[in-house]
């Protein structure tokens, strides 16, 4: 019909779809699913890093890490707000997260075992996130695209800080260097999995590309990430844990080893190292905060009434 034609034309012309515009139900549902997952990832993603705030080994690093975790809370706020423009409330989204009915990025189901993990998350996980997210700044849905512009700017700052943290360790004592290498060993493969299943196994990709929610395939983005990381690892003086990693002259890109997708599926199914722990901690924080939120609501209601 006419509305759909108008919508398709707008997407084709690279115009932004705005909250008041008509949009297909499936487009809206896809956006809600993806934006909610993204918002949830920001707040669950605070946990593995917050794990090291109290133990950061210098005051400068402590300040950087605190600021980063604060930014993640801020990103969560933008993204929940952007999602609310699609007609779902933050409370509702949080309930779905806590009930296990909406996802967050599987990467946060891996533990941060040492201080170097803070650096590896910055370099690799934030690096992968940026590679994924930069194209989203041109996403067809306006509020999401604008939130991503702001988020990407901050993320790239985090990524550089993570890189610099690892560099300091790599050039530090033998124990510090080993700590950095161990962290990269543990985070490399999970980071590659952040781009999602291979293109031929990806359920939602084709429609999302057509709608310009997504602009590059999973494998394209993964390749881009690998090509960026290899020279950075060399400068760091750290090895990426993949014996098959090598430059392919013909393709003008790096070949890399086979990803263990069975691990990815297991973590997705809830059997990763920290799935239960992360969700449980989130639920506990939420439950412990109920009386506070109730108090704020009661206070606001009283004072609205008093003014009316």
């Amino acid at each position: 019909d006419a509305l759909l034609a108008e919508f398709d034309a707008a997407v084709a012309a690279d115009s932004r779809i705005e909250p008041r515009d008509w949009m297909p139900d499936a487009y809206r549902a896809t956006l809600v699913r993806q934006m909610a997952q993204h918002a949830h990832s920001e707040i669950i993603g605070m946990q593995p890093e917050a794990n090291w705030i109290t133990r950061a080994p210098s005051l400068r690093r402590k300040a950087i890490l605190m600021a980063k975790v604060q930014d993640e809370a801020g990103h969560g706020l933008y993204l929940y707000s952007a999602t609310e423009t699609l007609g779902v409330s933050r409370d509702d989204l949080l309930d779905k997260l806590h009930a296990g009915r909406q996802r967050y990025s599987s990467i946060f189901n891996y533990p941060t075992l040492t201080w170097a993990d803070v650096g590896a998350i910055g370099w690799l996980v934030d690096g992968a996130a940026i590679t994924n997210q930069v194209p989203l700044c041109r996403c067809s849905y306006g509020p999401y695209a604008r939130a991503m512009v702001r988020i990407c700017k901050e993320e790239s700052f985090h990524q550089r800080q993570g890189y610099e943290l690892l560099l300091a360790l790599s050039r530090g004592t033998a124990a510090q260097h080993a700590m950095a290498q161990d962290a990269v060993n543990r985070w490399w493969w999970p980071s590659l999995m952040m781009f999602g299943p291979p293109d031929d196994a990806s359920a939602h990709s084709a429609q999302s590309m057509a709608w310009k929610i997504k602009r590059h395939s999973n494998d394209e983005l993964r390749q881009r990430f690998v090509d960026i990381c290899v020279p950075q690892a060399e400068v760091l003086g750290l090895t990426l844990p993949d014996p098959d990693l090598r430059w392919n002259e013909e393709r003008g890109a790096h070949d890399y080893g086979v990803i263990d997708w069975s691990e990815f599926q297991e973590v997705l199914r809830g059997n990763g190292p920290c799935n239960e722990q992360r969700l449980e901690r989130r639920r506990t924080a939420h439950d412990n905060g109920t009386w506070v939120r109730d108090a704020a609501a009661a206070y606001a209601a009283k004072h609205r009434k008093a003014q009316a």
Binding site: S58, T173, W291, A295, A296
Partner: protein, 237 residues
């Protein structure tokens, strides 16, 4: 002078230890806005701590390599977070104090004045944050009222110490006590709560953080904060 340095260091310890406590909240706040706000306050305090400690030595040596009795923070800031009401009560007591203190330091000039002039603006926000939550919790639900009153009562015994004279500071701390009490009382009253009546200091003479005597939980706070740094002597981070 040595006394001035010691006083600056004590104020730095206050800010450092409270930043550490607030950092424990990260990711666990009752609403996302509070994850932002509490971390923001922690960052301000950490910044103050770094400036103050750096005036008296190497910030990391001071933060990571001193023993418990060498820290001269008031006991109030080391008290465990408890529930959100305890954290807010601690913030209220401390931010009203810090605002008065920094204002006095800024006014009097001298070495600490530039820091104090900058920090007093930050602390005005901390105080406003604590006030807003004191009002909401005090005048919210029955449960929040009860918890907030309990929090105010529980921490009251650590407030007297804030106004013990501090050599070398150049600010008459005891003279600020009455103003502090009035400001706190005004918020507490608006929040339909009662200003605690019990003693405002522990009767145990040795119980003053300013003399390097702390409470049991402080040892655990330091162990967590310093462990990694101490496990790699001489390393740079």
């Amino acid at each position: 002078s040595g006394a001035a340095r010691a006083a600056a260091r004590a104020l730095g310890d206050d800010a450092l230890v409270l930043a550490q406590r607030l950092g424990e909240w990260a990711g666990d706040a009752p609403v996302l806005e509070e994850d932002v706000a509490l971390t923001n306050i922690a960052l301000d305090l950490l910044g103050q701590a770094r400036t103050l400690l750096s005036m008296t030595g190497d910030e990391d040596e001071l933060a990571y390599l001193r023993e418990e009795h060498e820290f001269h923070n008031v006991q109030l800031v080391e008290q465990p977070n408890g529930d959100f009401a305890v954290t807010i009560a601690r913030q209220l007591y401390f931010s009203v104090y810090q605002e008065l203190l920094y204002a006095a330091l800024a006014a009097r000039g001298g070495e600490l004045a530039p820091l104090a002039a900058k920090a007093v603006k930050e602390v005005a926000y901390h105080r406003d944050h604590a006030e807003q939550w004191t009002l909401r919790l005090g005048d919210g639900t029955e449960e929040s009222h009860r918890r907030m009153q309990q929090a105010l009562d529980g921490l009251w015994r650590h407030t007297g110490e804030l106004f013990a004279p501090l050599d070398g500071l150049g600010v008459d701390l005891p003279a600020l006590h009455e103003e502090w009490r009035e400001r706190v009382a005004a918020v507490v009253e608006r929040a339909t709560l009662t200003l605690p009546q019990g003693p405002d200091r522990t009767p145990w003479a040795a119980g003053a953080g300013r003399q390097g005597v702390h409470t049991e939980s402080f040892g655990r706070l330091l162990a967590e904060m310093q462990y990694l740094h101490r496990a790699h002597p001489g390393a740079s981070w």
